[in-house]
């Protein structure tokens, strides 16, 4: 009885908040995707019209851009974090707190600074290209360059916290396990594969899940750098959805875009979750 009452009391505030701010929007995303509705919730059945409009319009392009940014950044950020964390863990001392200092720097600030570096006026990136003997790039008006810039900015933003978190997790691995593996003649890779990875898998999953979702749903960097341009080449699904959510006649399309993003990203996150919780 005591357990039941205490459990309910302590968990109730979180549950009460999750109903309107998680369950209701989730239901709305699922049902609203098949409706035409306005803010007063006057609705009519739309069937698959919202999806047809998305796939026949700029929405499809936005989904492709999202996929490109998501895949590139997940692969880049994850591999750099693990490699960097492994490298940092090889050297003693607390010098690597420097990554944490850099991690305090926000995505917004990073984006703005890179905006300057890519701008024709400040031209930091082009000065560097000239320095290594390469021609200038019109970052703001060339679609491939604008996309590359977004990928680079998100990568730069994610690296410090990724390296820091992986390094902390690796350093927390019980030393006796590592020593036993070394005595048995394990190589560095075997140490990582069979000792470190199973130990750090769970906390790392929780940490990287956050990165995964943020990376798959990029918003700040493309908005700040190019506002979705040039010619919509950096407009992501989320940017398009937010644009539609601001237009009363397009709420159904915004909900449908949300549902598509959900359907695309949830399996990735679910897979990461399952890997993290698999028995070592």
């Amino acid at each position: 009885m005591r357990d039941r009452v205490s459990g309910l009391i302590l968990s109730l505030p979180a549950m009460v908040l999750m109903v309107p701010f998680f369950i209701a929007p989730l239901v709305l995303a699922v049902i609203g995707a098949f409706l035409r509705f306005d803010i007063r919730m006057n609705w009519s059945w739309a069937g698959l019209d919202n999806f047809r409009a998305i796939f026949g319009d700029v929405g499809l392009r936005a989904l492709g851009v999202t996929l490109l940014f998501g895949v590139c950044n997940v692969v880049l950020a994850m591999s750099t974090s693990v490699l960097g964390g492994l490298a940092v863990a090889q050297f003693p001392g607390r010098w690597w707190s420097i990554y944490q200092v850099a991690a305090m720097f926000t995505g917004l600030n990073t984006s703005i600074l890179w905006l300057w570096m890519f701008s024709p006026v400040v031209a930091g990136a082009n000065q560097f290209l000239r320095f290594v003997g390469l021609p200038d790039v019109m970052w703001h008006s060339t679609p491939w360059a604008a996309r590359l810039a977004v990928i680079l900015v998100i990568w730069c933003w994610q690296v410090p916290s990724g390296v820091y978190n992986v390094a902390v997790a690796i350093r927390a691995t019980p030393q006796e396990l590592l020593e036993a593996a070394r005595i048995e003649g394990a190589t560095r890779w075997q140490e990582f594969r069979y000792v470190i990875a199973p130990v750090v898998r769970k906390p790392l999953t929780l940490i990287v899940l956050g990165y995964l979702t943020a990376l798959l749903l990029v918003y700040t960097a493309p908005v700040m750098l190019w506002y979705g341009g040039p010619l919509g080449s950096t407009t992501t699904a989320l940017m398009r959805g937010v644009e539609w959510a601001g237009k009363p006649g397009m709420y159904g399309m915004a909900a449908a875009m949300s549902l598509l993003v959900l359907v695309a990203t949830t399996p990735v996150c679910l897979a990461a979750w399952r890997i993290g919780n698999r028995k070592a």
Binding site: M18, F21, F22, Q127
Partner: protein, 277 residues
């Protein structure tokens, strides 16, 4: 192998530090110099600070606006971080320690909320907030309070705590609330602080949700203000505007930095606790 690791460290350090370096040198440089001169400290100057305090248009417009946005950000982020630390830790602790009706559903709901990307929910979230008349600072704060990640971290960490301490307190006649308040919370402090810093920094930098929820300039956060200022600084010249802008960005990076530094040990302890669980 050591050379390879050193190369990785040099590359990751360069990528990590470059933006911070560009901002700090930009705030204290003369922007009439080239980019390379600025980042190599060959154009050091306090012109940005001097201009802010001596130019009429800046003292009368910029300073009051930035102060207002700064104050808003501090209030919203602190409130959300405190509430979230309390609510998420309590729920995580309850899930780890107690058997109560609905526990299994709640566990599934939290895992579902963790798996479903929060950002993907912003659009339907916005529609719900309009319907609930919560398009204001209160709505901006309250949506960050129940964090699935925070609940899971706390649950995971609480699983690893020694149960004998709780049993001993029970035998001594302590109520469950007293046990939570006086025993569990101090033991869960690393995770509480980790959650505090995550929510504070997350909300401080959350441009998208702020853009959706906060409409009037008086309600804006500093992140929104910084974006607005990008093209609206009343500075004498474009170069002066850039120097002042760098300085404001430097100021905006200070509160999250302080929170991170204060919570640094707890974040390490929290991650170690999750590893050892």
């Amino acid at each position: 192998m050591k050379t390879f690791y050193l190369l990785v460290i040099v590359l990751t350090l360069l990528v990590s530090i470059l933006p911070v370096w560009v901002m700090v040198t930009g705030a204290f440089s003369d922007w009439r110099a080239t980019f390379l001169e600025r980042i190599t400290l060959r154009a050091l100057s306090l012109r940005s600070v001097r201009l802010i305090w001596t130019t009429d248009s800046l003292t009368k417009i910029l300073i009051p606006l930035v102060s207002k946005w700064f104050r808003n950000s501090i209030v919203y982020c602190t409130l959300a971080a405190v509430l979230s630390s309390v609510v998420s830790t309590a729920a995580g602790y309850a899930l780890a320690r107690f058997q109560f009706p609905g526990r299994r559903y709640m566990n599934s709901l939290v895992v579902l909320a963790m798996i479903i990307p929060g950002l993907a929910m912003y659009i339907p979230d916005f529609l719900v907030m309009v319907k609930l008349h919560l398009m204001n600072p209160f709505g901006f704060v309250i949506t960050s309070v129940a964090s699935a990640g925070g609940i899971l971290y706390a649950r995971q960490y609480a699983h690893g705590l020694s149960h004998e301490v709780f049993e001993a307190a029970r035998v001594d006649g302590a109520s469950e609330m007293q046990i939570f308040r006086h025993i569990a919370v101090p033991m869960l402090m690393p995770i509480v602080l980790m959650q505090f810093s995550a929510v504070f920094v997350g909300l401080w930098t959350n441009l998208m949700w702020a853009n959706i929820m906060l409409r009037g300039q008086g309600q804006w956060t500093l992140a929104q203000g910084i974006v607005f200022m990008l093209h609206n600084i009343p500075a004498p010249t474009h170069e002066d505007g850039m120097a002042i802008y760098s300085f404001v960005m430097l100021i905006s990076a200070i509160p999250p930095a302080i929170v991170y530094l204060l919570a640094q040990k707890s974040i390490v302890k929290g991650i170690e606790g999750l590893v050892q669980e």
